[in-house]
Symmetry: C2
Subunit: 202 residues, 2 copies
C-alpha cells in the first residue's frame, strides 16, 4: 500500500529527528493526524522560529537569540574563568549541576582531522586571542573523555601553556553512586592514576 | 539555566510527539539546530502540508488527500467485502500482510461510552446504511482483541445480523512463530476455544 504523498512526506521528514526510525515516524504521523493537529502546527511554527532566530553567541559560540548570550553578559559570573566544552548540551549539564560560575566556550564539536574538523573549525584561533586579550586566570578543559575529546584537550593545553595561561582538566574517576564492581576498566585506571593523598585533619 | 525562548518553545512543541519526553525533546532540538537545520525546515513544511491536505475518505474514513481514497476507488478490489478496523495503522498492517483484497471501514477509535464515544462518533449509523444499500456480502470485524474492541465487534454484530448480513470475526490464537511457553493465558484460552477439527485428506 502506498501512503498518500503528504503523509509519506511527513513520515520521511520526521526521520530527521535523532532516534526516530521508520516505524516510530509512522506512529508519530498517525498520532499527530488523528489526535493532535494543533500540536503538529505548533511544532511546525516552533521549528521555523527556532531555525530563524537561534544563532551562536559571538563570544562563547553557545546557542542564543542574542548577539552575546545571557551567560556571557551576566555580571555576577566570574569573567576570568572559562570552561571549554564540546556541545550546548554539555553547557546545560554543567549549569544544571550548579558547580561552575564562570563563562563557557563551546567548541560545537571536537578536533577530528578525518572529518576535516581542525582547530579553526572549532574556533580555537579566536579563543586563544580572547584568552590572551582578556587576561583569563584559568581555562578549565571539560571536553569528553573520548579519544577525540582528549586530543582536543591536549591540543588546547599545548596551545595555551606556552603563553603562561593556567589550564586544568576536570577530574575523571568513579562516578558518585557508582559501584566499583560495575565501573569499566579505563575509568578505574583513571581513578587510580588520579588518586589524591589524604591528610590528617589539623 | 534558562533556555532562550524559541529554544524552550521548540523543546516543548516536540513533546507533542508520542514517546518523546523532556530529555529526548532537548536532544532532538540540539541535534536539529547543530546539525540539521534544513531537516528542521523540511519537517515544518511537511507538518503544515499534511495537516492542511490530509482529511478522511468519505467512504472508509481512512486518511487521504482525496475525497474518496485510492483503496475505495480501486476497481481490482472486491467491493462486496468490507473489513472493519480501528485505526489507519491497522489498515497499513493488513495491507502489508497482503491477506485481504476487499475494502475497509476505519472506525478511528472504538466504542467507549466513558469517553463519550458512541456508535455515531465512530460512524456506525452511516456504515449500516452503506452495508445495506450496497448489498455487501460479508463484513469482517478486525477490531482489536481488547475489551473496547470486543465490545465494538459485538455491537456491530448485533447491528448487522438482524438484516441478514454475513458477519465474521478474524481468528485469535497463538501467533505464528510464537512459542506456546511465552503466550499469555487469554490468548491460549482463545486458541483452545477456537480450535478446528482436522479432517483426513481425501
Amino acid at each position: 500500500m502506498k501512503f498518500s504523498p503528504s503523509l509519506a512526506n511527513l513520515i520521511d521528514a520526521l526521520r530527521a529527528l535523532p532516534g526516530v526510525g521508520p516505524k516510530s515516524a509512522q506512529r508519530m504521523t498517525l498520532h499527530l493526524l488523528e489526535r493532535d493537529r494543533e500540536g503538529a502546527l505548533a511544532l511546525a511554527t516552533a521549528l521555523e522560529t527556532a531555525v530563524a532566530k537561534i544563532g551562536h553567541c559571538s563570544r562563547c559560540r553557545n546557542f542564543t537569540e542574542l548577539e552575546i548570550c545571557e551567560i556571557c553578559c551576566d555580571p555576577r559570573r566570574d569573567h576570568k574563568l572559562i570552561c571549554v566544552l564540546e556541545t550546548p548540551a554539555d553547557v546545560l549539564a554543567v549549569e544544571q549541576s550548579g558547580s561552575f560560575r564562570g563563562l563557557y566556550f563551546v567548541l560545537m564539536g571536537h578536533l577530528s582531522p578525518i572529518d576535516g574538523i581542525g582547530p579553526r573549525e572549532i574556533g580555537l584561533d579566536a579563543f586563544q586571542q580572547r584568552v590572551l586579550d582578556e587576561g583569563i586566570s584559568e581555562v578549565i578543559l571539560a571536553t569528553n573523555p573520548t579519544v577525540e575529546g582528549e586530543a582536543t584537550a591536549y591540543y588546547l593545553t599545548d596551545m595555551l601553556l606556552p603563553h603562561g595561561v593556567r589550564v586544568s582538566r576536570i577530574a575523571h574517576g568513579v562516578p558518585l553512586g557508582g559501584e566499583l564492581e560495575y565501573v569499566d576498566g579505563s575509568t578505574l585506571a583513571h581513578a587510580f592514576s588520579g588518586r589524591r593523598l589524604l591528610q590528617q585533619e589539623q
